[in-house]
Symmetry: C2
Subunit: 244 residues, 2 copies
Amino acid sequence: MKCNVIISPFSVDELYFTGKTTVVIDVLRASNTIITALKNGAKEIVPVASVEFAVKVSGGMFGGQTLLGGERNTKKIDGFALGNSPLEYSEKAISGKSIVFFTTNGSRAIVKAKFSENLFVCSFSNIAAVAKHLAKLKRDFEIVCAGRNNSFSLEDSICAGKLVLYMQELDENLELSDSSNACLALNKILGKNILDMLKNSDHGKLLIENGFGEDLILCSKLNNTKVVPFFRENVVKLMPGNNT
Amino acid sequence: MKCNVIISPFSVDELYFTGKTTVVIDVLRASNTIITALKNGAKEIVPVASVEFAVKVSGGMFGGQTLLGGERNTKKIDGFALGNSPLEYSEKAISGKSIVFFTTNGSRAIVKAKFSENLFVCSFSNIAAVAKHLAKLKRDFEIVCAGRNNSFSLEDSICAGKLVLYMQELDENLELSDSSNACLALNKILGKNILDMLKNSDHGKLLIENGFGEDLILCSKLNNTKVVPFFRENVVKLMPGNNT
């Protein structure tokens, strides 16, 4: 198996992903929000690439059982029922619902990779579960860091590096691209204490400033769930047979 | 002073650089080709963002004393006098000439950053000299990795990390962005033996396959020149007062 990391999804176009196996990572916070929503019984997440499209889609296409969720530059969007804090996605709030979801980086990265044959969503909390699925598939794979406003994200790159490390343990012949090797090195040197790393990251500092410090604790947890969000036909659902 | 690294120039637009102090790095091989050309007496380098524009510009705007140089995907372009191997830029070949220069990554990154107030070109061979100039300026600065086809370049990121390290020694209060910290970590773990790193990099392997193994040796040399290429009014020249 071969592994490549895309440091920012905006360096490739949509067709790049055609037929590929792809893992999208947005540590702060879209990955964890999606995982939490599915864990708490959301029917599905509909990731969209623009707020305008979110509003359009939510107008009834999904039988009235839709909620708008997400953020723009860390803040909840006017008229949206939910922001991008995993803490908001309680069972009471979202069980049984379709959630139309826009975030500055994460949902756009998923939409960008939509032509993938297999498309998973990963964060620190489900790395082992995602790695297990990838190893079963035995396919070359791309890890996409959602990044920050089209640029580098330290936390996404370190999470990518940790996934590469897990995959090396599951496949001793795993072939690594330069970017995979780089993320592996970043995880080794900067990924020992995930919470500290998040607190000291540019994005983490901004979230703390905006009152989302608790989200950092939640997003720093390693392997506390087996939920593997899976994208197919424009929606993210639990992997079939996925045991939460 | 604050330092930021742009992992790929295509994640920002031209106006981002307005008034900034910027260092462009393209280790394999545009940075070293430009340095070698200036060292060997080229009058100036005219970086361009497309082959078509290179051909147009070379048609006489610079008094007939122009040469076309560069590459597309490591190979010399039909009709160009010179490729992108520093070895071709001998005194005999280029002394006194204006060189219109197109490369897949490097020249495009320089053109992208053209609105910078100060714009330098850096490789391993002139890091100490570039650091000295930056320290004198006492300005926040951006390091731009030219990257590979809009994506991550290991060698550019490690060179960026080494420049950050040198700058930390010259300014103990240097403030680092996440990407600067990441490049610093990459240099620490993967930048010990530059030639080995280049030989094992995706781009290095491709160059070896195409017969450019000797270029890797040349591009791996650390601090063997004081040449600091400086971009102003659409051309790259030696820094005023620069002692080669």
